[in-house]
């Protein structure tokens, strides 16, 4: 996880005079100004990829008519983005940690994103579908791994400070990228279509969109320079041991985690593939003009851009995550129901969906952090994201086929089915949680604190028991039931030979035993 630890020379532990001056100057990495300009760059870093990701969605009609794509083929442009990331999400993050380091990794991934978009645009210009697919493939690898890198940056710069807000803002800004895309692409297309026709027109528009990636590339470089400077001045990461996560940890993940993953899939497949096909749905069912259809369709993004940080704050204060998830899913079902079974103004349905979606995003993802120890979080989130990508890829293809064969009404029924699955799964999480940890996940933050304290007390009690040397008390019922991690066994060994336990071993830090 630590960006440039290996590069740091030992002698830099002693500060030179010039560094001393730099630390107290206007551009000191310690000052908020430095950090928040870094934050701005971090947000802009993702702008290009999010802007370009939904280019086909914003121009769905034009794509289909100018390049003569069927709905199923059109949706392939999204699947080829998601499919590789079922694996590459993992690999990208892994390479970032082990090989590239965050700075170089970010630039490499940003470069891949940019190159992908350029290939995509070239393919469109020449009306070669396979080349467009190649472009989206490269773009996808770059963009998803870039998101991991973005998170890394946020953790390095804001850990223990404003990290939650920063995550929220990054998500918001990603949504801003998508929203701007939906609002801007149609006018740009109309403008360009005065000069170019057919595939060339699409190509030119996509090349213009690639400019946002160039902008993000510049941000990536600036951020790398700032990060390098901050690292060398603040001596970040020095004197710490390198922590390594192993793939085999996955098998010890709790049942609740896997259920949360199922909710991730089942819920998100009812949102993203819907947005991908939504524009034409609004044009057909509600007879909206293309531009107006885009606006309604992008409402979910615009709302989540505003609501995510706010609702995130609400969840932070109130806790009760499972209840929030449950309520969000119910409201989303209501929203989809309004769109499927009524002619009520689609703005109502989409605003409802946007709010419930933001609420779900704020309450669902922290669940993983509550059931998985901190040192495994990256892996856990990686798995969730990868499996979610798998779900999105499969469902996107299915959704296209359903529209072609059974129409948009069946598509809505299909999405409602998925939401139904996520609702049932949430109920399962609720029950499992009550049964296994007295409803820890659905506690308020205050209750959780108390619970944690109590647990600490029982832990220390057990330790005392262990240290008392009563060998038969060694195997409590709890011990027999729970699988032991290496660290658990080592700590017990240390306790028994009377060696002092390392202070951090009580906490959730991890060290590989090799």
């Amino acid at each position: 996880m630590e960006g440039g630890v290996m590069d740091s020379p030992d002698e830099s532990l002693i500060r030179t005079d010039s560094e001393e001056i730099a630390l107290h100057g206007l551009c000191s990495p310690k000052r908020p100004l430095y950090r928040f300009s870094g934050l701005a760059l971090m947000c802009l870093l993702g702008f290009g990829s999010y802007f370009c990701y939904d280019n086909p969605g914003a121009l769905q009609d034009n794509f289909k008519s100018d390049l003569q794509l069927s709905t199923s083929r059109f949706v392939l442009l999204y699947s080829i983005y998601s499919w590789p990331n079922v694996i590459f999400c993992f690999i990208g993050g892994f390479l970032l940690d082990r090989v590239f380091g965050t700075r170089l990794g970010t630039i490499i991934y940003m470069g891949l994103t940019l190159i992908g978009q350029i290939i995509f645009a070239t393919g469109a210009t020449m009306d070669m579908f396979w080349l467009m697919m190649v472009g989206r493939f490269v773009f996808g690898i770059g963009a998803e791994s870039l998101a991991v890198a973005q998170n890394n940056y946020a953790v390095f710069w804001f850990k223990g400070k404003e990290l939650n807000m920063v995550f929220g803002l990054q998500l918001s800004f990603a949504r801003v990228g998508s929203t701007v895309n939906f609002l801007v692409m149609e006018p740009i297309y109309n403008y360009v279509s005065q000069y170019y026709k057919g595939p060339q027109c699409i190509g030119v528009v996509l090349f213009l969109a690639a400019l946002t990636c160039v902008g993000s590339m510049i941000c990536a470089c600036l951020l790398a320079i700032m990060d390098k400077r901050a690292e060398s001045l603040l001596k970040r990461g020095q004197g710490q041991e390198k922590e390594v996560v192993r793939i085999t940890d996955v098998k010890d993940f709790k049942g609740v985690f896997w259920l949360v993953t199922i909710v991730c899939i089942a819920y998100y497949v009812a949102i993203f593939p819907f947005i991908a096909l939504g524009k034409v749905f609004f044009e057909r069912k509600y007879e909206y003009e293309p531009a107006a259809a885009n606006t309604v369709n992008s409402l979910i993004y615009s709302i989540s851009a505003i609501a995510s940080p706010v609702l995130g704050y609400v969840v932070d204060r109130t806790g009760k995550n499972v209840s929030w998830v449950f309520i969000s899913i119910c409201i989303t079902m209501l929203a989809h129901g309004l769109l499927a079974f009524t002619y009520v103004n689609p703005y109502i349905g989409m605003i409802t969906m946007g709010l419930s979606y933001s609420m779900l995003a704020s309450s669902l993802w922290p669940l993983i952090a509550l059931v998985i120890p901190e040192y495994q979080l990256g892996t856990a989130y990686g798995i969730a994201q990868s499996i979610q990508n798998l779900g999105l890829a499969v469902v996107s293809i299915l959704a296209g086929m359903i529209v072609d064969a059974g129409g948009y009404f069946m598509l809505e029924i299909f999405f409602l089915g998925w939401l139904w699955i996520s609702l049932i799964t949430t109920m399962a999480i609720w029950m499992l949680d009550i049964a296994s940890t007295d409803g820890y996940l659905n506690m308020t933050p205050g209750q959780r604190e108390k619970y944690d304290e109590c647990r600490k007390t029982t832990d220390s009690l057990e330790r005392e028991k262990l240290l008392s040397g009563d060998s038969t008390s060694d195997l409590s019922a709890d011990d027999l039931l729970q699988p032991h991690s290496d660290i658990h066994i080592r700590n017990r060994y240390l306790s028994r030979i009377g060696a002092p336990l390392p202070i951090h071993a009580k906490g959730p830090t991890y060290r590989a035993l090799r």
Binding site: S65, D404, G406, G407, M410, I413, L416
Partner: protein, 414 residues
């Protein structure tokens, strides 16, 4: 145990559905003849006049699909004993009253595909009424050479395929290569047609599917589109008017991407003895397919224009079956025309695929209402039923456990 019960229920539902399906096809029995009692005259002249009778319990619906003049359909409602009589010698000459039923029909309705317009959509609006006369060509469907390419009949379904080719009109000196196809279907029950857009038809309706297939366009028109003029003739007060109406649907399951049904209904007239008499309707979905595959992506809009009243009945019906049927002097006849154009702004015109369609239903009575399909109903009922079942069974289980606990407590307390 629970699952067993669930599957039992499910299979019950299936059986009921199956039963409904089987029961369906006995509402009318179809019988049909090509050129009934005609003989040599028709063979010589390559005529096609199909008489289809759909016998119900109380009445008979007659359809005559005719290609001796402009393609026309006559629909008549009679008692079960009525027969069709055609005086073929007069009929081929287009004389009036050469076609009649042995009993006076309760109600008659007819349509004629009178004209095909080819218009040069210079401003790419998709609308024929924005184009001036110099950019419109009129083609008369009767000037095609009509061949019967397919005919099949059972008691449940009658299907006729006609192909018009080698257009040649001596008056206008216009000749065209390419063809137009007309597919006629007669039905015995309420169901969806097998031809996309899968219109919902009842036993009281017939479907007409028009395809303009690689018809040569006017070489001086660069942005050709086609439009059809249809003449609608209904018995009834000539001062009333037919009603044109667009209905929104929720369900586009049968016609993906199309959420509207357009229809024209004849005014319902009061009969002499005060009983409301049923009228006719024609119904279509505002979609035209541009390839033979007929999927959502290869479709364009079908635009209809306001109804026009036609006062000169004779002129309007000339050269069609309806002229041969309706007495020239009938005053109680409502004659109206409607234009329908195929194409939408920005769809790159007819020349893009050289294929365009219009599918519509002609029926008697009120148009049937679209209902959710069994699949949808089943999904919804499982969606609502299963969680309820889980909740109820959990509730019962908890109750039972508490009850048992109480029981054992009672024993302990003793």
């Amino acid at each position: 145990m629970l699952f067993k019960m669930f599957f039992c229920k499910l299979s019950c539902i299936f059986l009921i559905l199956l039963f409904i399906n089987v029961c369906h096809c006995s509402q009318r029995v179809l019988r049909s003849w090509i050129n009934p009692n005609c003989g040599e005259i028709c063979d010589k002249k390559n005529l096609t006049t199909v008489w289809l009778r759909a016998d119900g319990l109380n009445d008979t619906l007659h359809y005559v699909w005719d290609f001796s003049g402009s393609p026309s359909v006559l629909m008549a409602v009679t008692s079960r004993s009525a027969e069709l009589e055609i005086k073929w010698e007069e009929y081929v000459l287009g004389k009036s009253k050469s076609l009649r039923f042995t009993e006076t029909p309760h109600y008659t309705f007819g349509i004629v595909l009178r004209k095909i317009y080819e218009f040069n959509d210079i401003n790419d609006t998709g609308l024929i009424d924005t184009v001036d006369a110099s950019n419109i060509n009129i083609l008369h469907p009767r000037s095609f050479r009509w061949d019967r390419t397919f005919f099949s009949k059972t008691n449940e379904l009658v299907e006729l395929h006609m192909e018009g080719h080698d257009y040649n009109n001596a008056e206008d000196k216009i000749s065209r290569r390419g063809k137009i196809k007309l597919l006629f279907n007669g039905f015995c029950s309420l169901n969806h047609s097998h031809i996309t857009p899968h219109m919902l038809h009842s036993e009281n309706s017939t479907q007409i599917d028009l395809i303009i297939d690689h018809l040569q366009t006017n070489t001086s028109f660069l942005q050709s589109r086609f439009a059809i003029e249809v003449l609608l003739v209904s018995e009834g007060n000539s001062n009333s008017t037919m009603i044109i109406d667009g209905k929104k649907t929720l369900d586009d399951e049968h016609t993906p991407g199309i959420f509207e049904v357009d229809e024209i209904r004849t005014p319902n007239n009061n009969y002499d003895n005060g009983i409301q008499k049923m009228g006719a309707y024609i119904q279509w979905k505002p979609v035209s397919y541009t390839t033979a595959e007929r999927d959502v992506t290869s479709s364009t809009d079908l635009i209809h224009y306001p109804l026009i009243v036609s006062y000169n009945h004779t002129k309007a019906m000339k050269n069609s079956l309806l002229f041969a049927f309706y007495d020239e002097n009938v005053t109680q006849l409502l004659v109206q025309k409607i234009n329908v154009s195929m194409g939408l702004k920005g769809d790159r015109f007819y020349k893009k695929t050289n294929y365009t369609t219009w599918t519509f239903i002609v029926g008697y009575g009120t148009p049937p209402d679209e209902q959710f399909s069994y699949l949808v109903i089943m999904i919804i009922s499982i969606g609502i039923g299963l969680p309820l079942l889980i909740m109820i069974s959990t509730g019962l289980y908890l109750c039972a456990r508490r009850f048992r606990n109480q029981d054992s407590n009672v024993l302990l307390n003793r």
